[in-house]
Symmetry: C2
Amino acid sequence: MSRAWTAEAFYTQLEEPPTLAEYTQQARDFVARHVAEKRKVVLVTQSGGTTVPLEKNMVRFLDNFSAGTRGAASAEYFLEAGYAVIFMSRQHSQFPFTRWYSHTTNPLFDLLEEPAEGEETVQVSQAHVQGLLPILHAYHEAKRRGRLLTVPFVTVIEYLFLLRNMSEVMDPLGRHAMQYLAAAVSDFFVPADKLSEHKIQSDDQALTLQLEPVPKVLGSLVASWAPNAFVVSFKLETDEKLLIPKAERSLHKYGHQLVIGNLLQRRKFEVVLVEPHDHTWVRLPSTSAAPPHEIERDIVAAIAERHESWIASV
Amino acid sequence: MSRAWTAEAFYTQLEEPPTLAEYTQQARDFVARHVAEKRKVVLVTQSGGTTVPLEKNMVRFLDNFSAGTRGAASAEYFLEAGYAVIFMSRQHSQFPFTRWYSHTTNPLFDLLEEPAEGEETVQVSQAHVQGLLPILHAYHEAKRRGRLLTVPFVTVIEYLFLLRNMSEVMDPLGRHAMQYLAAAVSDFFVPADKLSEHKIQSDDQALTLQLEPVPKVLGSLVASWAPNAFVVSFKLETDEKLLIPKAERSLHKYGHQLVIGNLLQRRKFEVVLVEPHDHTWVRLPSTSAAPPHEIERDIVAAIAERHESWIASV
């Protein structure tokens, strides 16, 4: 029951997702273009959660909370900082740029004006043009210049296969590669051989679920898949006392460059950048009033600077 | 451990969601306007899934699959058929009309043209105006005429409290009320007193979860909350043999008007309308080629017709 999955066993025993080869090839081509341009490339894994199917037909699944703001916002600021971005994101979670006009909070439809009698144009109402223009421009620029590649996933199994292949194909970038692992990944999964074929029947009985721990792959990523990349992982905690100790333990164990620690309750206002011999808090001026800008802007600026020094240090 | 929750115990022992009173008042005002206009009103609960938090801070939760297309699409066709719609939907799931321009599959941003030098207007590119106009018009009409009220939820507990209050406030409509319960509701939940205060720690151990069955509230809805409404429930199965028998059992047990049965694999192409002495398949012409229209159009037409006869039959 409680066999602990190693990364190796996971990748050899589980079946590859059918779309893996296609996304891998797209990423390989994307990387090759940017190697030629000597551009830095960051893999942003999006914090949109990963699902754990409990049934083969996936009527029910275990999920983990995440609106996905951190990944989508960070991708925007990496593009602004001149990076090319591979955005590996949970399907239907937030997306760079379009996230500002979410269907539920600020639908673009509300900004579109129907044409006057006899006309045939639909335009954005004049009051909203100023707010929209820079976002729209940045979005179109990223597409026109081929700076943004999107790779979607749903389950934690898809996520783990993609993560391996994306980091491997980035190796030709050498130190110009960054892994920014913001995805909130499930710690548990149910292997295919234990999935129920049909929908679990509910006859007023309590349900007991047995979940197995997801293998820790950060060690393989740092040592084998992306030995030359600048690797940033995330720690989300709710208990403040555990935050820095757990981040330091993770750095020590895996040997990568940086852990971004955040507390669930204050993650929009402060994070701590934990490095091997140092830690630095990044804080917005106030947690009460409306913040002057998103904290992801400051996080990305701080990380990009460290990445630059690290490239120069060889 | 396996105490079975009755609807009564659930509503008296669990705490009301803080936003419940506000949404209830909005719905009461909405209904009053439509009673005055003698308009039919349908409550569409959206199939966007309900979450089951496993921790108080909700880092992890159990979820159930649903893109939410059925509810959002049905709401559009009910509006087209002259109904006013209370759309009770999972936050961030699909929304009537805007769903046609999803951020991931068909982003509106791709259709917007940046202004030429010296100009300050953003417009939809001419090639897409024809496709967009009828959808945009229907969306604006529903808003202008006050025909669409949106009520969001996330957890299964919020869903159950809202469902009770929404059906109760619709009672003044008499037979002009319809309940169209398309939400895919979790069958299990973890009561607040068993929720972990902090994030469940994962130390390479298997995780065992104990979940309790969600009370069946359809009986209370039919008998007490909405005794005059036309009530349509949904049955989603993966095993074809169980579909009609389970739908019939549900009708017999709760005494409502209609069950829409669908198989997970074929739900976009066929459903079966199960009534007390009859069942009728609704099928799109072909499951292979692109369907001529969405099946929800045919479902809503069939249901609206039955609702009309049922109103006339008193």
